[in-house]
Symmetry: C2
Subunit: 163 residues, 2 copies
């Protein structure tokens, strides 16, 4: 695993972020955003007002990104939610684990008490392995919650980890 | 149980809806919205752009309200989410069950395939009884997910029903 430089960014970096997000969103395999989402849709989603966004760079090239946000408002806002994307051409290098580990530290520093994922697609084994390695528990299964590739409804898991 | 008239409304009715919501939100016992939320906060929450809102009236008086919205965007938008409030002074009359039943019909007519609740406070026994009577299953428990009355973190359940 090489060293990654992970920093908080704003939407002025979105061109580079979209180059990472777009091929992953287009698959319709892991994120709920419509596979034909435009760049503007993607920006509104990834940089929604309640999200803080981070980018991971390897020698100046952005290879991954994640966001952290409250999973609920008000009386549920001590639990955070997060989303992660590693550039397709950099998969298998352990970057997902590193981003996940970094997000856990960041969320704890922000004062969150736990992290929850609401829609981990059940056949996303690579992702599930990362989260279980980082100490997440599967706390529920939502039947047929994800319209995989827009073709078939498959189960999704809810994951949780205390910080 | 008296007959209720349940119709879709827009935010022009918010004065009457707020009279129902506000005392319930103020308790900090069931909804995540901050107990000190202003009327404007409440309007932005209950009439968020992705929600369709219904009001239940008994002889012209609004006694309850619910919303339906997609629980996720895009590839998760075949699952809906809903929220229900019955006026405190009308509790115990079975209105919650009637609103729940109506929302299930409405959601099915809208084309949703299932309904999911993300944050049912674990000590909200009255609500849990209604949902289990209407056929919902508890599909997960989120540890300490709700800051009850702003005083202590208690568990919340995730509920699910196929339509």
């Amino acid at each position: 695993m090489t060293m990654l430089d992970i920093v908080e960014i704003n939407s002025s970096k979105f061109d580079e972020i979209w180059a990472v997000l777009s091929p992953v969103f287009k698959t319709g395999e892991t994120y709920p955003i419509a596979p034909d989402a435009t760049k503007e849709d993607g920006k509104a989603y990834w940089f929604a007002p309640d999200k803080r966004v981070y980018a991971a760079s390897d020698q100046g090239e952005i290879v991954g990104t994640y966001y952290i946000k409250p999973n609920q408002i008000g009386l549920g806002s001590h639990v955070c939610n997060a989303g992660f994307v590693v550039a397709a051409e950099h998969s298998g290098k352990g970057y997902g684990t590193l981003l996940g580990w970094h997000a856990l530290q960041t969320a704890k520093e922000m004062g969150y008490e736990s992290m929850q994922f609401n829609l981990v697609v059940a056949n996303n084994i690579a992702s599930l392995k990362i989260w279980q390695k980082l100490g997440f528990d599967v706390i529920g299964t939502i039947p047929e919650a994800f319209n995989y590739r827009g073709e078939k409804h498959i189960d999704a898991y809810i994951l949780y980890k205390k910080l």
